[in-house]
């Protein structure tokens, strides 16, 4: 490098000789032109490729966009069209008290019931007769 070499420990002649021999014998073979070209081409390719962090950001953005698109499509699919009848909301606060349009339709099909006990199954009616005495 460019700075002064004054901070390097001084070497005796014998040490300097060994350093010189090691420098000569422990050296990489020079890069051949073809290898140099291949090195540069590979490096240029890697420099142009997106960084791992950028890849994660792109993937995350894509996932977020896909989720938003799916949610928007779902809202559009299940939202009522103009003039379409909206299903009645449950009217009771307990599950047993929930009455929907389907329940009303079943009751209408069954017709009027003269006695409330007629609506009960036979075994329930037997229990009712035993307990209440009817």
């Amino acid at each position: 490098m460019s700075r002064e070499r004054s901070d390097r420990p001084p070497l005796a002649a014998r040490e300097r000789a060994i350093v010189e021999r090691v420098a000569e014998l422990y050296a990489a073979p020079p890069l051949r032109p073809a290898r140099r070209v291949r090195f540069d081409a590979r490096l240029a390719e890697r420099l142009a490729a997106p960084t791992p962090r950028r890849r994660v950001l792109v993937a995350a953005s894509f996932a977020a966009a896909a989720t938003a698109l799916a949610a928007a499509f779902g809202l559009w699919t299940f939202s009522p069209r103009e003039g379409e009848e909206v299903a009645a909301a449950p009217t009771a606060s307990t599950p047993l008290g929930v009455a929907t349009q389907d329940d009303d339709a079943i009751l209408a099909m069954m017709g009027p019931i003269a006695d409330a006990n007629d609506a009960l199954p036979d075994d329930y009616r037997a229990i009712s007769a035993l307990v209440i005495g009817e």
């Binding site: 490098m1 700075r3 040490e15 000789a17 090691v22 990489a28 090195f39 890697r46 420099l47």
Partner: protein
């Protein structure tokens, strides 16, 4: 902040532009930096990893890549080349850690240096010197290679490796003593023994 907006100097040029023109100039100057330091980076990595040419090229590639992607972090309080060689030395350490783990798993000998590529000169002598270098501790080899073979100052090596000057000097002293013991018969004034 882009490297261009900081006016970072690479080689003879300066990154002063902004926008696409600035990015193109950064690329051009970085290419020039790579062209200027490629061979030395590979040679230095080769010596630090103990003569593995493929590994040396991979390490140099990774160091250039990391340097390019981290240019925005370069503060300009050191030379760009010094900053780059610090990255390179760290990459060598990363590689050596990885190799150490791999060798332990494979139950291979960590002391055996890879076979040097066919080169001019006495292969047996080269192998002998490579073995002597491989027998140095990592710190000793690093200090010896950077100071005596690559020409960095002790202060620069301290900056590159994050070690104290005194530690570097101590490594240098021990490395030289060990090499002198193992290669005492090497005399540059005569032909190597065959």
């Amino acid at each position: 902040m882009t490297p261009a907006s900081r006016g970072i100097e690479i080689g003879a040029g300066s990154l002063g532009g902004v926008g696409n023109a600035g990015a193109a100039q950064t690329q051009r100057l970085f290419d020039a930096f790579v062209a200027e330091h490629r061979d030395r980076a590979v040679a230095l990595a080769w010596r630090l990893v103990g003569g593995d040419g493929a590994a040396a090229e991979d390490i140099a590639q990774e160091a250039f890549l990391r340097a390019y992607r981290s240019l925005h972090r370069f503060r300009g309080d050191a030379k760009l080349s010094t900053w780059f060689y610090r990255i390179l030395v760290n990459e060598v350490k990363r590689y050596q850690r990885w190799r150490w783990v791999r060798q332990r798993r494979a139950a291979e000998s960590a002391e055996e240096p890879p076979d040097p590529r066919p080169m001019a000169g006495d292969p047996a002598l080269r192998q002998r010197v490579a073995r002597a270098m491989a027998r140095l501790s990592h710190g000793q080899r690093e200090a010896f290679v950077l100071v005596h073979l690559e020409g960095f100052t002790v202060q620069e090596v301290a900056d590159l490796t994050g070690r104290a000057d005194g530690t570097i000097k101590s490594h240098l002293h021990r490395a030289l003593r060990r090499l002198r013991e193992q290669l005492a018969d090497l005399d540059p004034s005569r032909e190597p023994a065959r």
